[in-house]
């Protein structure tokens, strides 16, 4: 099915391309942490910041990876790079695995930076140790990249991938509890929050903040998150195809 060598070659190529663009590098690695430092000062105390702050540790990496993933692959689809790649011995699964590998490595760097700035510069307070939050941040970055790959199937250009933000991503972010605690929302919004994909991220973060190692609720949300990532990746692999028209 998936060939490690071929996937790794694609991973290297993707990372190399992203790395050549200094702005993309900054966005992927540094921006989520810097945003946390800015948002921290909108709150009076570190204790008041923590409930929103931990969710940001998950949601900001997801957003930046989504942007990078969706725009990069849309361009490759539109310009024929993907066609060319699929003409090589690499299979569709290899392509998706290659992108996933790039997401894993980039998410790792991003998570290190986000967690460092979150704990040292913003005074985040959590019951679980920092590395658990880092791992969760990495998972959400990977989820973001998978969503980006999936969304690229229905977009003709980068502008259209971008348009999913105001209509699809931002409402989810609002409901996730990042700006206003979920228990204080109206009942129907809380029901909505149960069903939205982004809630898997925000809930696992909140669980890790409240309990040491998160407990059962972390297990449930992390399972949901992994299942959603797998679903998005399968969807992406199914829609990446050679068009011979």
């Amino acid at each position: 099915m998936i060939s490690l060598a071929k996937s790794w070659a694609i991973t290297q190529r993707v990372l190399h391309e992203l790395g050549r663009d200094p702005r993309a590098r900054v966005v992927m690695i540094v921006t989520p942490g810097v945003l946390m430092v800015i948002v921290r000062r909108l709150f009076d105390s570190a204790a008041g910041f923590s409930p929103s702050g931990v969710i940001m540790v998950g949601v900001f990496p997801l957003f930046s990876m989504y942007l990078v993933g969706s725009t990069a692959i849309v361009r490759e689809r539109a310009k024929g790079t993907l066609e060319a790649v699929l003409a090589t011995p690499a299979s569709r699964a290899d392509v998706v695995a290659g992108y996933l590998g790039a997401a894993v490595l980039a998410s790792f760097g991003q998570a290190v930076c986000t967690v460092t700035l979150g704990y040292l510069a913003s005074g985040l307070e959590t019951a679980s140790p920092f590395w658990l939050l880092g791992i969760l941040a990495m998972f959400s970055g990977i989820f973001g990249m998978s969503l980006g790959l999936l969304v690229s199937a229905v977009c003709q250009n980068e502008g259209q991938a971008f348009q999913f933000l105001p209509g699809v991503m931002i409402p989810q972010m609002l409901v996730s509890g990042i700006v206003w605690p979920v228990p204080r929302m109206a009942g129907w919004v809380q029901n909505l929050e149960h069903m939205l994909p982004l809630s898997a991220v925000s809930r696992s973060m909140t669980a890790a903040r409240l309990h040491l190692y998160g407990g059962t609720s972390l297990l449930v949300s992390i399972t949901a998150l992994l299942a959603l990532t797998a679903a998005a990746l399968t969807g992406a692999a199914a829609t990446i195809r050679r068009r011979t028209a």
């Binding site: 966005v27 800015i38 957003f63 725009t71 502008g159 348009q163 609002l174 206003w180 109206a186």
Partner: protein, 246 residues
């Protein structure tokens, strides 16, 4: 000076946008969707909802016009459309005015739907008259065009344009005064916010929550916003709409 040729430019821009019906649907519906979600989030705290709902209602029109202007103009600059346009008799000011009008027309529909839902169905309760909020919303949609045109100067590829959102857009929104009023920000944030266009847009809108009439603070903030628009368009005329003969 702009001539009547701007009508042709704006008609062309509007036609192109209209043809991309997926974009249009998403953008006409998204502010209403955000308002409904916001109401659900904050309806248990009416005071907070009235403030945030008002600001979002007035500020949201900046977003689509920014995207339209930034992506479309970026593409046209790099695919040569702009060059072709500048070989015709239209003046550069015509082009800028044409783009402003063309991008702002869909914003009218969007604002109308968003206002109908927010005032009619969600029943937001603000002191200021609705038409003042409407005028500020339209001013902000023009501001969005200005920021979008300006942004195309900072980027080389469409990908970098997308990246301006997390790097510039999110901090801009954080410090605009939507989450924490300008006067209550800590020192360095206060200092940065002084130079942000949205700080003035939000400052003007926030006045309407408690004041029934247009007061001096609102006029000052609206005037600064309009001044920023003029500045951005002047820069755009000099930088974006220029023939490169190299």
């Amino acid at each position: 000076m702009p001539t009547r040729n701007f009508v042709h430019v704006s008609a062309r821009v509007f036609r192109e946008l209209r043809r991309d019906y997926r974009t249009m649907t998403l953008f006409i519906i998204s502010p209403a969707l955000v308002q409904i979600v916001l109401y659900g989030m904050l309806s248990t705290h009416p005071n907070t909802y009235n403030r945030c709902g008002l600001i979002v209602m007035g500020l949201f029109p900046s977003a689509p016009t920014f995207l339209f202007a930034a992506f479309m103009v970026h593409r046209e600059r790099h695919s040569g459309t702009m060059e072709h346009l500048l070989t015709t008799p239209v003046a550069r000011a015509d082009i800028v005015l044409g783009y402003i009008v063309g991008f702002t027309l869909p914003a009218i529909v969007q604002v109308a739907i968003s206002f109908a839902i927010t005032y009619g169905i969600l029943g937001i309760d603000v002191a200021g008259p609705w038409w003042t909020v409407g005028l500020l919303a339209m001013l902000n949609s023009v501001l969005g065009v200005g920021i979008g045109l300006f942004a195309t100067n900072l980027v080389r590829t469409e990908f970098q344009l997308v990246l301006t959102l997390p790097v510039l857009g999110v901090p801009h929104l954080s410090l605009s005064g939507l989450f924490r009023p300008y006067n209550e920000m800590v020192g360095w944030q206060h200092a940065i916010a002084t130079f942000l266009p949205w700080r003035y847009a939000v400052g003007a809108l926030a006045e309407l929550k408690d004041h029934t009439t247009v007061n001096a603070t609102l006029l000052f903030n609206a005037a600064v916003t309009a001044g920023i628009c003029v500045l951005l368009f002047t820069v755009a005329v000099q930088t974006v709409f220029r023939r490169r003969t190299a």
